[in-house]
């Protein structure tokens, strides 16, 4: 059963086989997607017709690779911009929230804490439509009462950022809180006894201690934002993010360009995830 308990051969072999199959199940779709990005064929399917980089570097007219595909390049740029703002905003507010819930005491703290957790149990689609509705309500209000036309309240870039921010901040809060819990408060007390103000202490002592978790929160929020689909779906305008744009293409048929984009995404996210794993190790 466990390492130091002897088991029959069939049992341990069977267990190994099961875990092996699990890993095949886990990696098969990703592997096939990557391999077929390099197939010299008009469709992302077998048989194998030879190796090509056309779906990356080709520049038309029959095969336009991703590096020359303006629509997809634009959506990648939009996704990067959204993820940049979402990760900064979420990590900033998430760190504030971590300090609030770990170090401060105030009435209705428990209630606010549950409210902070709420985005975890609200489906992303619901967050998307409720924010769409509310921004529309605000937009109508400002227009009829004050004659102001506020672009922020219409579907578009900033509404996507806000929609993703609304639940990614919860994740950022939990990541930073987990480390703040392990902080030794006597360090802060010592600094304050030596004459530092609260904010000097936070800046020089606590934030230094929190750095791995802040980097972790930034990386996780960036990835979550980059791949978000459910909430974004209701808030985008013509400036589609990459997942939305890919969805439209996958729905209407597919070309190996999608595989090429997938290769880039798999490579990029793996690098970021591994880098995060390495840098956020507390005792490096």
């Amino acid at each position: 059963m466990i390492r130091n308990i002897p088991q029959t051969k069939t049992y341990s072999q069977g267990f190994k086989l099961y875990v092996g199959l699990y890993f095949v199940f886990l990696f098969a779709p990703l592997l096939v997607t990557c391999v077929l990005a390099f197939n010299d064929s008009m469709f992302p399917s077998l048989p194998w017709k030879g190796f090509t980089l056309d779906w990356f570097t080709g520049h038309g007219p029959i095969r336009t690779g991703i590096f020359h595909d303006q629509i997809n390049l634009d959506s990648i740029r939009v996704s990067f911009k959204v993820a940049f703002f979402v990760s900064l905003l979420s990590t900033f507010v998430g760190t504030m929230a971590a300090f609030l819930f770990e170090q401060e005491d105030f009435p209705f703290k428990q209630l606010l804490f549950f409210l902070m957790l709420a985005p975890l149990v609200i489906p992303g689609v619901i967050l998307g439509i409720s924010i769409l509705l509310f921004s529309n309500t605000l937009g109508v209000f400002f227009e009829t009462r004050m004659g102001l036309d506020v672009g922020l309240f219409r579907p578009g870039f900033w509404l996507v950022v806000l929609g993703q921010f609304s639940f990614i901040t919860t994740i950022a809060t939990l990541i930073v809180s987990a480390r703040l819990k392990k902080f030794d408060p006597t360090l802060e007390e010592a600094a304050m006894n030596l004459g530092a103000t609260r904010f000097e202490t936070i800046l020089h002592i606590t934030l230094k201690f929190l750095r791995p978790s802040i980097i972790g929160a930034l990386a996780v929020s960036f990835l979550m934002s980059f791949e978000n689909f459910n909430t974004t779906l209701f808030l985008v305008s013509s400036q589609a993010t990459l997942p939305i744009n890919l969805y439209l293409q996958v729905r209407d048929g597919s070309t190996p360009v999608i595989n090429a984009i997938s290769v880039l995404m798999i490579g990029g996210t793996s690098l970021l995830a591994l880098a995060n794993l390495y840098f956020s190790k507390p005792d490096r």
Binding site: P29, A118, R198
Partner: protein, 285 residues
């Protein structure tokens, strides 16, 4: 000193309040208000339960709703069954040297966008897909079969998408499970089955519950996987919401559906917590 403490509280609480109030509380309230308003026969908008009446009187709506709920429970259960042995293998069976490596390996695919993963399954399973290619080459089939667009494939896709969210909490509870407990039970004559049921599952309950909540919630609210892998005649409830909002432009009806989905997810999570005597605050830690 005391004064600066108060200032600290104010600075920390302000952004948090703005976030929760403007992006969570008020939008949900607005959605609830929208849901109980509808046009009457004179074209005026007022308070009405018509949107909910439509839901209960049109079988297509409540059937989709029930279907989504039942399939989500099934997906949650299957995800648990599939990932539990893997989590156990990584934490307790494999030699500690490979433990870290295997953990990273199991988590890595989930950082890749859900869309890429679903797309991978599509090119594997569809009529001109890779699996059909091999089945025909090896002579098992003589004509390709469409493996996509049915409920079984959709459930598999949803399980695949959710596995991470079950694995992470399971790995962390199993990490803390003392091996001596299992050894003692084994010495006292327990076998694999009785040890699993009487020692391991009860010990892992907090992890199982927290994983199940997240998996259930994500499955219920999923749009991508049912839409791309599911059958054309079996909708997911989020697709109904999308249709009301984007295709029919009936925001009141859509809000009512959204509200019902929210009630359903909260209700099932609440029942799950009560049945297993856990609390939400404890479970997310």
């Amino acid at each position: 000193m005391n004064k600066s403490m108060r200032w600290g509280l104010l600075i920390f609480i302000l952004p948090v309040l703005v976030w929760l109030l403007l992006l969570i509380v008020l939008p949900q309230v607005d959605m609830a208000i929208m849901a109980i308003r509808a046009d009457n026969e004179f074209g005026e908008t007022g308070f009405s339960l018509a949107n909910f009446r439509v839901f209960f009187s049109e079988p297509i709506y409540w059937r989709t709703f029930a279907r989504t709920a039942i399939f989500s429970v099934l997906v949650t259960f299957l995800t648990f069954l599939i990932t539990m042995p893997v989590a156990f293998y990584i934490t307790k069976v494999v030699s500690p040297r490979f433990q870290g490596f295997l953990t990273v390996l199991t988590l890595l695919p989930f950082w890749v966008s859900e869309l890429v993963r679903v797309y991978g399954w599509m090119i594997l399973l569809r009529e001109s897909g890779v699996i059909n290619h091999f089945l025909i080459k090896s002579g098992i089939l003589n004509k390709p079969v469409e493996l996509l667009y049915n409920d079984a494939t959709m459930v598999m896709g949803l399980v695949y998408t959710s596995m991470l969210f079950m694995l992470v909490p399971l790995l962390s509870v199993l990490e803390n499970l003392d091996n001596n407990l299992i050894e003692a039970a084994y010495d006292l004559g327990g076998n694999v089955w009785s040890i699993t049921v009487k020692i391991i599952i009860p010990y892992c309950l907090p992890g199982i519950v927290s994983g199940s909540i997240v998996v259930f919630m994500l499955t219920l609210g999923n749009y991508l996987t049912p839409n791309l892998m599911g059958g054309k005649n079996g909708l997911w409830f989020t697709e109904q919401i999308y249709n009301q909002f984007i295709a029919s432009f009936n925001w009141n009806q859509g809000s009512a559906f959204g509200f019902l989905l929210l009630i359903l997810s909260s209700a099932i999570i609440w029942i799950g917590l009560k049945l297993t005597r856990q609390s939400l605050g404890k479970v997310v830690q």
